[in-house]
């Protein structure tokens, strides 16, 4: 059987070639769009807003913010939990979902929108943290983020610190999973942040163990560097949250947590923050 094409009239082929030429033109006039820039009005609103952290919905918004010279020092993070806890910059996103989350549109232009939550959260966000492990000689190894934003300090799931739902004291809460690692110290370093919220309450570190893992008797040690202050917190092997208030000597401070356990087996440790 032949695969020879049927004899067509040259007229129809010429029409087809004209279509091919149109394809060529399409290739020329449809180049990849450049990253859109932030309109001046939106940039001005962002610059003057008191939110401590600006959240972005995707890389287009991140790129626009980080290419704006006036906003270079603003802390920016990927919107990592829902509903958003801080100011959100979005580009061509579905506005309905932000409205459903009780957010208010502060400004918008050319597809860009700034969304403000009903209550701004100034708590440290895990997405802002640098995560690394320290060996016995103090040599640091960074933990790269995986596709879901968890810090990959090892291949098993329990070696990936990040926000998870954990049952502590009979209640499922979102906290930062930070299982101590065998033979290494887990270091989680947050950038400079306010030591008090807008009501004057001070930052407090709350540590907990998953209820099902309590009972081995091994404590989890947490060395805290809070600005200039060095603190130590031992989380005893008990159910419930154990608190460490952080001093508010300065207006802002960087926070570093060094987490370690002599026997990390079944130490399903997690922590969160509150202003108290």
């Amino acid at each position: 059987m032949s695969t020879k094409p049927p004899q067509r009239s040259s007229g129809s082929v010429i029409i087809a070639l004209v279509v091919a030429a149109a394809g060529l033109v399409m290739a020329l006039v449809f180049p990849r769009s450049d990253a859109p820039a932030l309109p001046a009005e939106v940039a001005a609103v962002v610059a003057e807003h008191p939110a401590p952290i600006l959240l972005v919905t995707h890389h287009v918004a991140y790129r626009a913010l980080r290419t704006h010279p006036d906003l270079a020092s603003r802390p920016v993070a990927l919107l990592s939990s829902w509903p958003p806890s801080s100011l959100v910059l979005s580009y061509r996103d579905d506005s309905e979902r932000f409205a459903d989350a009780g957010m208010t549109r502060v400004s918008g232009q050319d597809g860009w929108a700034i969304w403000e939550p009903a209550k701004l959260n100034a708590l440290p966000i895990f997405d802002l943290a640098r995560v690394e492990t320290l060996d016995a000689q103090g040599q640091a190894t960074p933990c790269p983020r995986d596709d879901a934003g968890f810090a990959r300090c090892g291949e098993p799931d329990w070696m990936r610190p990040g926000p998870r739902q954990v049952e502590v004291d009979g209640e499922r809460v979102t906290c930062n999973w930070a299982h101590p690692l065998p033979g290494r110290t887990l270091r989680i370093a947050y950038p400079e942040m306010p030591t008090r919220d807008d009501q004057g309450r001070t930052l407090t570190l709350l540590t907990g163990l998953r209820d099902s893992s309590v009972g081995t008797g091994v404590p989890v040690e947490v060395s805290v560097t809070w600005g200039e202050a060095q603190l130590h917190h031992t989380h005893r092997d008990r159910r419930g949250w154990q608190a460490l208030p952080l001093p508010d000597d300065a207006d802002t401070a960087a926070l570093t947590l060094d987490i370690f356990a002599t026997n990390p087996g079944r130490r399903h440790f997690c922590y969160r923050f509150e202003y108290r």
């Binding site: 695969t3 287009v60 290419t67 990927l78 990592s80 829902w82 979902r97």
Partner: protein, 520 residues
């Protein structure tokens, strides 16, 4: 019966195929080395580890099925022979893979429509960015593409020598060990055979040589020593692990998946948006003129190519990602379409005699073909370094009533070496941060100047390589991509970083009282 061209083709078939292979190798070698992905880096590291195991007499190092097995074997081979140059040899192997794949495309098109078809098919494939992009990176899937096309070439041969059956069975077993998608493709190929061939009574048949290939291939697959002595544990793992594993979340056309399964069009759209409209329109024109659906029943090769095309559309959907279990299906789809449309494109060369109304047609035709080739291939040579990773030809979003394609991130996390070189040229040495393993590889390969990378992590005041955050959380989905984007600084105005950017340190500020610092 083969189509008889109006004028004899100036080259013999062998010379033509040799020329296609040489031109393909020269073209992709000219494009040079582009960089590596985390998968490529992991493959090279596994190769080094396995080679070290072999040196200590641990043959078990060869039996682990972690990544794409055939690529791992090649990396182990080169690491054992020349550890310092293994990465460079793996790049050269990829170039060879693309040249061989183009040759197989030409060979199958030759079988389908003659030498002009072979030339047309090879040209169409070489003008498509997803095809060219295979060669420039440490892409483990380039070997899968080559093996698949080699297998198809044997599978669709009108007559096959016993040695050909053995070779096809070996290829099938190797594909099965390397990529779970090979099983789905084999099922589709068998289905295409059964649907096409009928015996005299109208019943379905499977040719004996195909039956032998399947039996011997399965036997070879099962004989893999890594499955023994615990087949009850290891064999199900090969099939179930990739199917049941909760893969990374996917961003596609402005949405994240899961929670939902991605749309069925994900495979098709992924390579349509990466391929120049000039190539796509040429393909459609060729398909229109060739009308391959007319000879599906009679042509085993055409049926097999349709099965391959179907696999390239369905497998990404099944695997919940633009690549099906680590293998980009774009190249396989382009190969299938290039071969199917080639007889139609070749037919254009025979039109002068039938064309009475257009005496200048031959001249404009040559100019048009040259223009199409130039427009298609120009981005590969003159485009930004991430041209193979970015969605270069976004379709109008209104067509799909969804977010614009450029809202999606780059398709692969390849770190373009040319981007780093440009960043070094514009901003000096770069602190590679957590990507030091990749930049060290580039320096060791000689693809990047050692001066481009800062020697120590303590250099915080240098421009820093960062992974861009990809897609934020929503009411029912989680965030995807690097979250730790808080670092202050201005993104360097450089194009072509794909997933990556270079953050320039902010100028020292004299007044610390930013308005966002909340006062008590």
């Amino acid at each position: 019966m083969r189509p008889v061209p109006t004028t004899p083709f100036p080259l013999s078939n062998r010379a033509l195929l040799a020329a296609i292979g040489i031109i393909a190798a020269a073209l992709v070698a000219t494009l040079g080395y582009r960089g590596t992905t985390p998968d490529g880096l992991a493959m090279l590291e596994r190769g080094l580890t396995r080679a070290q195991g072999l040196r200590t007499g641990d043959l078990g190092a060869l039996l682990s099925l972690e990544g794409i097995y055939v690529a791992d074997l090649a990396a182990t081979f080169f690491s054992a022979i020349t550890p310092a140059f293994a990465a460079r040899w793996m790049h050269l192997l990829n170039i060879a893979c693309v040249a061989l794949s183009t040759l197989f495309v030409g060979a199958m098109a030759l079988r389908l429509g003659g030498p002009r078809s072979a030339l047309a098919a090879a040209l169409v494939a070489l003008c498509a960015l997803p095809w060219l992009g295979l060669a420039g990176a440490h892409a483990p899937d380039a070997m899968i593409v080559t093996l698949t096309l080699a297998f198809l070439w044997l599978w669709t041969a009108p007559t096959i020598h016993p040695l050909g059956i053995a070779a096809a069975a070996t290829l099938l077993a190797m594909l099965g060990l390397s990529w779970i998608g090979a099983f789905a493709l084999a099922v589709l190929l068998v289905a295409a055979e059964l649907l096409g061939d009928r015996d005299a009574a109208g019943g379905i048949i499977l040719r004996l040589d195909h039956l032998l290939i399947l039996i011997f291939g399965t036997a070879l697959f099962l004989a893999f020593p890594g499955f023994w002595p615990d087949p009850a544990q290891t064999l199900p793992d090969v099939f179930l692990e990739p199917l049941l594993a909760s893969g990374p979340e996917l961003v596609y056309r402005g949405h994240t998946y899961p929670p939902a399964r991605p749309p069925l069009t994900i495979g098709l759209m992924t390579w349509v948006e990466a391929t120049s409209p000039a190539v796509l329109v040429a393909m459609l024109l060729g398909l229109y003129l060739a009308r391959p659906w007319r000879w599906l029943r009679e042509q085993r090769l055409a049926r097999a190519l349709v099965a391959l095309l179907l696999a390239s559309v369905l497998l990404p959907w099944l695997a919940r990602g633009p690549s099906a279990w680590g293998v980009e299906m774009s190249a396989l789809a382009i190969a299938a379409l290039a071969i199917l449309c080639a007889p139609g494109l070749a037919h254009l060369t025979e039109l002068e005699q039938g064309s009475k109304r257009t005496p200048g047609f031959a001249r404009t035709r040559l100019a048009l073909v040259a223009g199409l080739i130039a427009v298609s291939i120009a981005p590969a040579f003159f485009g930004p370094p991430d041209v193979f990773e970015a969605t270069r030809y976004p379709l109008p979003s209104r067509v799909f009533s969804g977010p614009a394609a450029h809202d999606a991130p780059a398709r692969t996390a390849l770190l373009p070496v040319d981007f780093l070189a440009e960043a070094h040229k514009a901003h000096g040495a770069i602190n590679p941060g957590e990507f030091r393993a990749t930049t060290d590889l580039y320096v060791a390969m000689g693809a990047l100047s050692p001066a481009a990378i800062a020697p120590s992590e303590t250099t915080e005041d240098l421009p820093r390589l960062i992974a861009l955050p990809q897609f934020g959380a929503g009411p029912t989905w989680r965030a995807v991509g690097a979250g730790s984007a808080w670092r202050p600084g201005t993104l360097a105005p450089l194009e072509g970083g794909g997933h990556y950017g270079v953050l320039l340190p902010p100028p020292a500020t004299e007044t610390p009282s930013e308005p966002w610092a909340i006062a008590p």
